[in-house]
């Protein structure tokens, strides 16, 4: 890691309470939790794109919301641009969050259907008092729209989201973010719901604004191919835990964790030159991950041995910037 760190996360945890119901109270049963994000540590450098990859339900979406404190974490540390986010009060948080933004998966759903494109952008301007006059507001909005290539501006200015294509909608979302000049943006599967034909345009736009505004990204996806296209590093998540993290090409070429291997094997066309051993995974993702002292992947892991069922593996360095959490790292290498 030779770049300046913009985001540093340590031991981040988010547990959700399970509703007990009336009978539960009557029986005085213990409170149970879902470990949605379980003890995750990583950092993101300036202008770096860190991909988070995992199946749906692995906690990546929860994690992204915890990072922005849209959901309060159970414990951990989040240092953003040198500020401890979790120590901030509501008002300070709002001010800092201006520089941490998010682009959502559902392009239509993330736009208020009752608001036109310019209104949506104007809302951002007004929330943060970025302009003193309406004319200035209009100017900022126009700039942002040009930036995200919603041109000619006049054509889109008064359009309601329902009249835009998915790609255009996602551009509005991005415009709304760019207006704020953020330092760090979480892109939560920004292209997964778009037609394949427009995906590349959006990814290029991400790349462009990354360069222009010096933005760091966390790019969340379950799709390795887009991750490979845009990410500098990728992190693999399984049931709330990080299992492997490292430079994109390194991981794709030399996956260490059995889960990573399985993921890569599932997309064979990603790079025909790389030969990855086929790893058969048994079963499905367990629905409710609770308290457990074993390896999370143990029930499905073809390489599992006795220790996996009793102890939880910790991250260990594999190579340069490459870490993985598995007891059988040596064998895997």
């Amino acid at each position: 890691m030779n770049r300046k760190e913009i985001l540093h996360v340590e031991n981040l945890k988010k547990y959700f309470k399970i509703k007990k119901g009336l009978l539960g109270y009557l029986k005085k049963s213990d409170q149970e939790y879902i470990h949605a994000v379980d003890d995750i540590s990583f950092s993101v450098g300036e202008q770096e794109v860190l991909g988070f990859i995992g199946e749906s339900g692995c906690g990546k979406s929860t994690m992204s919301r915890v990072l922005l404190r849209l959901i309060e974490p159970t414990s951990g540390t989040i240092i953003f641009d040198g500020v401890d986010l979790l120590s901030l009060d509501k008002e300070d948080l709002r001010k800092h969050r201006r520089f941490m933004q998010m682009i959502f998966q559902d392009p239509f759903g993330s736009l208020n259907p009752r608001r036109t494109v310019s209104d949506t952008l104007r809302q951002t301007v007004r929330t943060h008092h970025l302009a003193a006059t309406i004319a200035e507001e209009d100017k900022l909005i126009r700039q942002a729209m040009e930036e995200v290539e919603l041109v000619p501006v006049e054509e889109y200015w008064d359009k309601y989201p329902a009249l835009l294509s998915g790609g255009q909608q996602q551009r509005v979302s991005m415009g709304r973010v760019i207006i704020l000049h953020p330092k760090f943006v979480i892109a939560d599967e920004p292209v997964s719901m778009l037609d394949v034909s427009v995906r590349i345009g959006i990814l290029e736009l991400l790349e462009k604004i990354k360069q222009k505004y010096t933005i760091s990204f966390i790019y969340i996806t379950h799709d390795l191919s887009t991750a490979r296209y845009i990410c500098d590093r990728i992190a693999i998540m399984y049931l709330g835990k990080l299992v492997e993290i490292g430079p994109t090409e390194e991981i794709l070429a030399h996956p260490v964790h059995p889960y990573t291997k399985a993921l890569i094997a599932a997309v064979p066309e990603i790079d025909p030159t790389v030969k990855v051993k086929d790893v058969p995974i048994k079963g499905y993702v367990p629905v409710v991950p609770g308290e457990s002292s074993n390896c999370r992947f143990f029930p499905r892991c073809p390489y599992a041995f006795e220790k996996c069922s009793t102890d939880s593996p910790v991250m260990q360095k594999i190579g340069k910037d490459h870490f993985a959490a598995c007891f059988r790292v040596e064998e895997a290498l």
Binding site: R65, L68, L70, R94, R97, R98, Q101, M102, F104, Q105, D106, G109, S110, L111, N112, P113, R114, R115, T116, S118, Q123, T124, T127, H128, I134, A135, D138, K139, R142, W157, D158, S173, R176, V177, L180
Partner: protein, 304 residues
């Protein structure tokens, strides 16, 4: 970009145009709808009658007549005859529409405002607050409406504003429920999270983001509330709990029923009854039409 002021005014105009177009579309659908047409027709007529009452009336509705003008049947001077004080029934019907419409609109407004506030706050914040608010709503919905209205109207005194208060008190919970269930699904929509992410405060999320999306439902809800308010006023006035200063259709019926001359002077009884029924039918037809139009896909089916 240099001439932003002008551009802005153009924008405003354009937005206005879009909004106008939407209203036009809506009105078109309403008129296109068979019941909507009838409902709107009836309501427009009564609105006109209420506004133009001073022009349409022959004499003041409160001016008593001579001894020879008591309970006389419809004739050229008194289009609908006179009541037991020689007052003109026609003028009373005209002015009665004002009371009904006033109570209808004001109560519906008050109901919708209260119900929306409670519904949005409960649905948005959830947790204990929601639990408490919804318990209150449940509680009010369990109360027998008419008996409660009678008690409150009797306790508070006969006065148009008290009636509005009572009607609102009884009906806001329904709106609160409807709004809350809308909010529950709306607040999960990504655009709320997106707005929060941008830095919007809760108050803005509730009233800037979520509220505009419940407006259509509220419109349908308001129409129903108007019907109920008109109904409620009529019943209370009929039972003698109406505003004694303002002649309403309900109180006309009260006096006619009490006077013991119904059979002798049907011209005194029928006009207020017919007016009440017509106006309520007008609003329920409008309500049916509105809820039809708001159904997903209706607009498209009609080619708009």
């Amino acid at each position: 970009m240099s001439n932003t002021k002008a551009e802005l005014s153009i924008n405003k105009k354009r937005k206005q145009k879009i909004r106008n177009q939407k209203i036009k579309d809506f009105l078109y659908l309403l008129i296109d709808h068979k019941m909507g047409k009838i409902g709107v027709g009836i309501i427009v007529i009564f609105l006109f009658v209420a506004l133009a009452a001073p022009l349409l009336r022959t004499v003041s509705p409160h001016q008593s007549g001579n001894a020879s003008e008591i309970l006389i049947p419809p004739n050229s001077q008194f289009i609908l005859g006179t009541d037991d004080l020689g007052r003109d029934v026609w003028s009373q019907v005209l002015y009665g529409s004002r009371v009904s419409l006033l109570i209808g609109f004001v109560s519906a407004l008050a109901t919708v405002v209260t119900g929306t506030l409670v519904g949005i706050i409960a649905g948005f914040y959830g947790g204990i607050l929601e639990e408490v608010l919804m318990r209150i709503v449940d509680f009010f919905m369990m109360l027998p409406a008419l008996p409660l209205m009678i008690v409150l109207a009797a306790v508070l005194g006969p006065n148009i504003w008290n009636i509005i208060f009572v009607v609102t008190l009884i009906s806001w919970p329904t709106t609160a429920r409807v709004v809350r269930s809308q909010v529950l699904s709306l607040k999960e929509r990504p655009f709320v999270e997106a707005s929060r992410c941008i830095g919007a405060k809760n108050s803005f999320l509730m009233f800037g983001e979520i509220f505009p999306n419940v407006v259509p439902i509220l419109f349908a809800e308001a129409v129903i509330m108007i019907t109920e308010a008109i109904y409620a006023e009529a019943v209370l006035s009929f039972l003698g709990l109406g505003d004694p200063v303002r002649m309403s259709w309900g109180s006309m019926l009260h006096f006619a029923f009490d006077s013991g001359t119904m059979a002798r002077a049907p011209w005194w009884v029928l006009p207020p009854i017919v007016s009440i029924i017509l106006l309520i039918i007008g609003f329920s037809f409008l309500g049916t039409a509105v809820s039809d139009i708001l159904k997903p896909g209706y607009k498209e089916k009609k080619g708009l």
